[in-house]
Symmetry: C2
Subunit: 734 residues, 2 copies
C-alpha cells in the first residue's frame, strides 16, 4: 500500500514542487501491488530502511541476454532494481559512470573475463559478488562459472538491497554444500495435495500443456531465488498415469518453463507401473521384461525432457508396491530404475520411510533394520532419502538413526515443509529451528563433529572408497493454489528457510528468519525484531501445546487435525496414539532404552549411551526414549506430571504472547496481511487451548493425578473432546 | 496496466507541466491492478470511450451510512467513482455544486424524501435513477424503497459510467421480475466442486469461521452488482454434516458477510439427515419424530442465521435419499421441510430433476410423469426447481415440458452456468443465447405468448386461485478459487448474463454481451464489436462441433470430457450415448414422437404437434424427437449425413474464426488476459477438431456412408479416439 509516494519522493528529489507530492497522495490508494502475499519474499517494494538518498545505487546494468537463463537473470534484475530503487538501471554495453552492475560468466561477458577473477572453487552453482572498478568506474560484479550461478548471484545481490545491507565494499563468495536441493510435491493428478493446507496443487494438469499458467514461472523464480534446483511434481503415493505419454507432454511443458531458472523436474515413480500402464504381468526388478520396460520408459522421458532429474520412489511402505512384493530387496528395486536412468544422467531417490505390513515391536527401528544391511549395494546414481526422524515429521524428533549408519551410501535429508503435525497452515510455527536442530545434531559416528549436515553434504564420508559423490536434500512442499502460495504468510518462511538451509546447512535459523522478515515485511527495526522473536519461539510453542518432553504422534486419526491422545484400535497399533505414549496409571513414555525396544542401540555408542540414560537424555526427549513414573522429579523441581501440565500452559501462553506482539504491529504492516495473520493467530490460540485442554483431560484420566495448584482445569469434559470429528479436514491421504 | 497515466491526465488538466506526465510514464509499470480477472466486471478502471473532459462527472456524493448495506453502497460508489473518474467525489451533507449524486431511500435520506418521488411500483428491490435538481443544482438521484434497492441502483449507475453511457437526462426505473435469484454451488465440504472447472470451492470450510477471507466480500459484491440475492452453499448431492452445529457456525459467518449485500444463504439438505446426524432410525416424512427433528433443526438454524433462505433438495434422484424410500411422494417430502421452515419465512426449493432406479422407456418423460400429479399439493413456501431441459444441460435442449404444466405450483428455472457439457472452462461459449432461447420459448399452454419466462416470473398463472406468489431462478455456479473466479475470462460473462437475465428475463443476450464486454474489456469500439461477435456465435459453435441437429448426451462417461458417442454398457442404459442417439445403419435419432416414446405429448398440443412432425420440428431439434434415415433431405438440400458433417466442420471453422478475431485484438487488450484467452482458444480449436473427428469417425462406422466431397477425413482411426481415458479430469461426481 505504500510505494507510490515513496517512489515519488525518489523521483522528485530535489526539484519537484510540493504540490506534486500532494497530487501523488491524492491519487491514492493505488497499491503498486496488493499485499496479498503472492509476491513472496520477492516484493522488491521498498528501499531498505536507513538507505538514504546518499546510498549507492545501481546506475547501469551489464549482463548478457543470449540464453534463456541470461534473459531471466536480466529481467529479474530489472524488475528488482526498478522496485527497490524506484527506477530500473539503464542497460549498458559499456561502463561510463559510477554504480554499474555486471552480472555473468567469463564466457558470457567479456568484461568479466577481463577481470580474471578466481572462480575455481565456485563449482557449477556458486557465485562471487565483489566491489571493484571497471573501465575506471566503481562497479559491482556478480560472477560465476555458469549462467545459473550468475542467476543465483543476481538474487543474492538483490537480497542485499532487500535486507537493507550496504552494497559498497562487497566481497562475497557462495557455493552450495548440497548438490540436489529438491522440493517434493505430494500432489495427486486430480490436484488434491496430500498433507496440503494451501488449496489445490498448482499443477493444472487438465489444462496443461495448452495453458502455461504464468504462476509456473513465478514458482520457478521463487525457488531459484533460494537455490532450489529440482522439483518432484507428484505424490510419492504415486499414480502410474504420470508416466504415460499424455502426462509426459504436460511434464515436459513444465520442465521447459523451469529450465531457464536452473530447475529440473523429477517424478515419483510407482513401482508397479509396468503392470498398470505397461501391460506386464509383473514388476519384479529382476525380470528382463520389466527392465526393458523401464529402459524404454527412460528413453521416452529423456526424448521429451533432456534434463529430466530422475525418479523418487516410495516402495513397500504404507501399502505402496515395491521389490519386496517379489522377494527382492530395496537395493534390487532402486538399482532397476537407476540402471534405466543412468545412460541419461538421471538419479533415483529411494525413500527409507518404510514399514511393512507386519508390525514391528517399535516402528522407530524399522528403516534402520531394513536399510543398513544394503549399505554399499546401491548404484552410484541412487541416493537414499531419509526423513529427519524415525517416526514421521513430529514437532520434535531425535535425528534419524540412519544418518551416519550407511557410510557407503549417499543419504538425502527429507524435511517436511508443509505442517502436517504443526497446526496445518493456520498455526504460526517457524520450522527453521527444527531443521537447524536436526542438521546440527551430532551423530558421533566418527567422533564428535559428525553432524547430520556433514552426513548429507557428503563431507563426513568423502573418504569412503567407491562412495558416490551424490548429495541431496528434499523438502515436502507447502505450496498450493492459495493466493499466498503457502496458506499463510508465515508459512512462506518455511519454504524460504528450507531453501536457504539446503544451500548452506550450517546457517543459523535466526539469521534466516531475520532475512526473510526484512524481505517480506520490510526493514523497520520495530517490525523486524518482534517478528523474528515470534518466529524463533513459535515451534517450541507447538511442541509445548501438542505434547512436550518427547511425547509424539498424539494427533487426530487420519487427517492429523487436532488432539487425539486417546486414539487406539484400528488396523494397526502403530497408527494409534496409545502405542506411542503408553500412558498408564503409573507412568508414561515409550521405553526405547536397552531394557525396552532398544532403538537407542541404532545410534552410535556415545549417543546411544546418552539416550539410554533417563538422567542424561535431554528432557525434551525423555518420553521418546523412556517410560517413567508420573512423579519423576524433573530439572525444574516439578514432578513429571506437573512439568507436562506446565508445558501445555506455556505453549498456550506463548501463543497469547505472539498475538499481543502482532497486535502491537498494527499500522506498521499493511492492513491486508496484518488482518490475515491476526485471524490465524486467533485460530491458533483457540486450537492451542483445545490441544492443552484435551490433552490434560485425557492424561489426567489415565494418571488420576490432581492438577497443580493454580492450574485451570480443561474447559470441557474429556468426552466432549473425544466426540469431535472432522471428516472433511484438508490434506488427508486418499 | 493502464490507469496510472490516465489518472494523471485527469489530474494534471489543465495546468501541470508536461514533465509531470513524463514522470508518471517513467515510474511505470505500476499497474493499478493486475489484469488477472479477479476484479470481474467491476474493474472501474477507465473512463468510458468517448467521455471527454466535458462529460458530466459526479462531484459530490450524498448517501447515508447508518446501516451495513448503506455503508457497502457508499464504499462501492467511492471505489467505482474513484476508478472511473480518477478521483472520488467528496462526501457531502448538502449540495452546493453541479454534479451531485444522491443515493438512498426516503427513509434514509431526507433530501430524497423531499423529492417526493413515485417509488410505488419498485417493490423491495427496484430503484429509479433520475436527473433532477437538488437545492438548485443539477444532480442525479438514485432512489429506492429499501437499502438493498438503493445498492442495486448504485451498481446500475456505476454501470452507466462503465459502459460509456451518458449520465445526463436520466430517467430509469428497474425492478426485478423474479424474487429469488439464486446461485447453486455444487461444492462439497472438502472443497471439491462437482462439475467445477475453476479450482476448488471458494468456501474454505476448514478455516471458517475464524478466517473470513476478503474474497467472500468480493463474491458478494459481484453478485449484488447483478442482482443475485441468494446462494446455496453446498452441493445438491448433499452431505448432512453441513447441518451440524460446527458447520452452521461457519455458514453463519458467511451469512454475516453476505447480508449487507442483500444476499441470503440457503443450504442443500440431505433428506436422510435425521438418520445420519440426528440418530433417528428413519427419515420418513410422515414420522412425527422426523418432523420434530426438522422443526428443531430449523429453530437452531434461524437462531444463528435469522434471514436463512431455506433448503434446496435433490431427493430420489441419482441415488440420493428421498421420500419415495418410505413410499411417500415428493410433495410429502417437500412439505415436511416446508412446514419446519415456515415459521421463520424459509422456503424449500425441491428439484424436479429426478429419475428412479427403474429405467423408464425415455428419461425425458420422467420428471413430468412424477411431478404433474402433485400440482397443487405443495405448501405455499415450496417452489419446484426445474432444469431448462428434460435431459441435462445439453448444449441445446427443447424447453422442459414441466414449464406450463403445473399452473398451481411455482416453478423455478435451473440453468447451468458451469459448462459441464460445453467445454469446461477452456472453451469459449457464451451461454446468454442458450438462456434466452429457453426463456423466450413459448409453451403455448394458455395460447401464444405463454413463454417460459412468464411461467417462472409468475405472470402467466397469477390468476390461478390459491397459487403461491413465490418466484425463483437458479444458476449452477461456475465459481472457484481460480484467480479469475470462473476458470476463464469469458466464463465470467456466463455468471454475469445469468444474473442479468434472472433480474430481467426478457433482456437480449446480445445487449448483455455488449454490456459485459464494455465493463470487462473497455469501450473501444474496435474491441467491443469483435468480442460481442465472437460471443454471440460461440454457443452455436459448440452445438456444431459436439453434435448438432438435436443430438445430445454424446460426451465421455462420468467426467463428460470430450467426445464419447460410442459410450455404451455400464450400470444403466440412460447413462450411455447410444441410448440417446440410437444410430443404426439406416438412421439416427431418438423417436420421441407419438409413434415413439411419445414425450412430445408432454407439451401443450400446438407445441406437441410441431415437435411430433419431422417436417415441422426445427431442424436444430430434429434428432431429439425423431429417428430418421441418414439420407433424409434437409433444408439445405443436403442429405442428413452430409448436413451433420457440415455442422461438425462449421463448428471447427467458427472456432478458427474466433482465434483469428482474437489475434486481431492483440495490443488492444492487456497482455495478461489476451494471452490466456489465446491459449484457451488454441485448446478449444484442438478439442473442437477432436470432437469433430471422433464423432465423424464413429457415426461413419455406423452409417457406412462416405464423406461428402472435399471433406477431410478424421485425423486418426476411430479406435484411437475410443482408447483415450481421462481418469483425473476435473469436476467428476464423487
Amino acid at each position: 500500500m505504500l510505494p507510490l509516494t515513496i517512489w515519488f519522493r525518489d523521483w522528485i528529489r530535489p526539484a519537484w514542487p510540493a504540490a506534486v507530492l500532494a497530487l501523488a497522495a491524492l491519487v491514492g490508494p493505488v497499491p503498486a501491488q496488493a499485499e496479498d502475499g503472492y509476491a513472496l519474499w520477492l516484493r522488491y517494494a521498498e528501499a531498505g530502511a536507513g538507505r538514504g538518498p546518499e546510498a549507492p545505487r545501481v546506475s547501469q546494468l551489464t549482463t548478457p541476454d543470449a540464453t534463456p537463463t541470461q534473459r531471466a537473470t536480466r529481467d529479474e534484475l530489472l524488475r528488482g532494481l526498478r522496485g527497490l530503487q524506484g527506477r530500473a538501471p539503464t542497460l549498458a554495453g559499456r561502463i561510463d559512470r559510477t554504480g554499474a552492475l555486471l552480472v555473468g560468466t567469463p564466457q558470457s561477458l567479456p568484461a568479466i573475463a577481463r577481470l580474471a577473477l578466481d572462480l575455481g572453487d565456485l563449482g557449477q552453482a556458486g557465485y562471487l559478488i565483489r566491489s571493484t572498478r571497471v573501465d575506471g568506474h566503481p562497479a559491482t560484479v556478480v560472477a560465476a562459472n555458469t549462467d545459473v550461478g550468475a542467476l543465483y548471484g543476481a538474487f543474492a545481490f538483490l537480497g542485499l538491497l532487500q535486507t537493507g545491507q550496504p552494497i559498497a565494499n562487497l566481497d562475497l563468495r557462495e557455493a552450495p554444500r548440497i548438490e540436489r536441493r529438491v522440493l517434493n510435491h505430494w500432489d495427486d493428478l486430480d490436484r488434491h495435495v496430500e498433507r496440503g493446507y494451501a488449496g489445490q496443487s498448482i499443477w493444472d494438469w487438465h489444462r496443461l500443456p495448452g495453458w502455461r499458467d504464468p504462476r509456473y514461472t513465478d514458482y520457478a523464480r521463487a525457488n531459484a531465488s533460494i537455490g532450489i534446483n529440482g522439483t518432484v511434481l507428484n505424490n510419492v503415493n504415486a499414480n502410474a498415469d504420470v508416466l504415460t505419454p499424455m502426462y509426459l507432454e504436460k511434464v515436459a511443458a513444465l520442465a521447459d518453463i523451469f529450465r531457464p531458472w536452473g530447475i529440473r523436474v523429477y517424478l515419483s515413480a510407482r513401482f508397479s507401473a509396468p503392470i498398470e500402464i505397461g501391460g506386464l504381468q509383473t514388476a519384479d526388478p529382476l525380470d528382463p521384461a520389466v527392465q526393458r520396460w523401464w529402459q524404454a520408459k527412460a528413453e521416452e522421458i529423456y526424448a521429451a525432457i533432456p534434463d529430466f532429474g530422475g525418479f523418487l520412489v516410495k516402495a513397500n511402505s504404507e501399502g505402496q508396491p515395491g521389490p519386496q512384493d517379489y522377494g527382492r530387496s530395496h537395493a534390487d528395486g532402486a538399482n532397476l530404475l537407476a540402471d534405466a536412468l543412468a545412460p541419461y544422467g538421471g538419479i533415483v531417490m529411494w525413500r527409507a520411510f518404510v514399514y511393512s505390513h507386519d508390525e514391528p515391536d517399535d516402528r522407530h527401528k524399522q528403516a534402520y533394520t531394513e536399510f543398513v544391511p544394503h549399505d554399499g549395494a546401491f548404484r552410484d546414481n541412487v541416493i537414499v532419502q531419509v526423513k529427519n526422524g524415525a517416526i514421521d515429521f513430529q514437532p520434535r524428533e531425535p535425528f534419524h538413526p540412519l544418518f551416519g549408519a550407511m557410510p557407503k551410501t549417499p543419504l538425502m535429508m527429507e524435511f517436511q515443509i508443509t505442517k502436517e503435525y504443526l497446526g496445518f497452515s493456520t498455526h504460526l510455527a517457524y520450522l527453521g529451528p527444527l531443521y537447524e536442530e536436526v542438521l546440527r545434531a551430532d551423530t558421533q559416528v566418527r567422533g564428535e563433529g559428525a553432524t547430520v549436515a556433514r552426513v548429507i553434504d557428503g563431507s563426513l564420508d568423502r573418504d569412503v572408497p567407491g562412495r558416490s559423490a551424490l548429495t541431496g536434500i528434499a523438502g515436502v512442499a507447502n505450496i498450493g493454489t492459495d493466493r499466498n502460495w503457502s496458506g499463510s504468510h508465515f508459512d512462506q518462511a518455511n519454504w524460504y528457510a528450507y531453501g536457504r538451509l539446503a544451500w548452506s546447512p550450517e546457517r543459523s535459523s535466526r539469521d534466516i528468519a531475520e532475512e526473510w522478515t526484512r524481505m517480506t515485511f520490510g526493514n523497520d527495526p520495530a517490525v523486524v525484531a518482534p517478528i523474528v522473536g515470534m518466529m524463533m519461539g513459535s515451534r517450541e510453542a507447538v511442541v509445548d501445546y501438542t505434547g512436550a518432553l518427547g511425547l509424539h504422534h498424539l494427533m487426530g486419526r487420519g487427517h492429523h487435525y487436532g488432539p487425539g491422545p486417546w486414539v487406539e484400535g484400528g488396523p494397526r497399533a502403530d497408527w494409534t496414539s496409545v502405542y506411542y505414549h503408553r500412558a498408564t496409571r503409573s507412568g508414561i513414555g515409550f521405553d526405547r532404552s536397552r531394557r525396552g525396544s532398544d532403538a537407542v542401540s541404532q545410534y552410535a555408542p556415545p549417543v546411544a549411551d546418552v539416550f539410554d540414560d533417563p538422567d542424561r537424555v535431554p528432557e525434551s526427549l525423555l518420553l521418546w526414549f523412556h517410560h517413567v513414573p508420573w512423579d519423576r522429579p524433573m530439572a525444574s523441581g516439578r514432578p513429571l506430571w506437573d512439568e507436562l501440565v506446565h508445558h501445555y500452559d506455556r505453549g498456550v501462553a506463548t501463543v497469547r504472547s505472539m498475538r499481543e506482539t502482532w497486535a502491537g504491529l498494527d499500522g506498521r504492516i499493511d492492513a491486508e496481511r496484518h488482518a490475515q495473520v491476526a485471524a490465524f493467530l486467533a485460530i491458533q490460540a483457540q486450537e492451542a487451548q483445545w490441544w492443552r485442554d484435551a490433552s490434560i483431560a485425557y492424561f489426567q484420566s489415565i494418571s488420576g493425578r490432581p492438577l497443580p495448584d493454580g492450574i485451570a482445569p480443561p474447559t470441557h469434559p474429556l468426552a466432549d473432546y473425544q466426540s469431535l470429528e472432522f471428516p472433511h479436514a484438508p490434506g488427508d491421504t486418499r
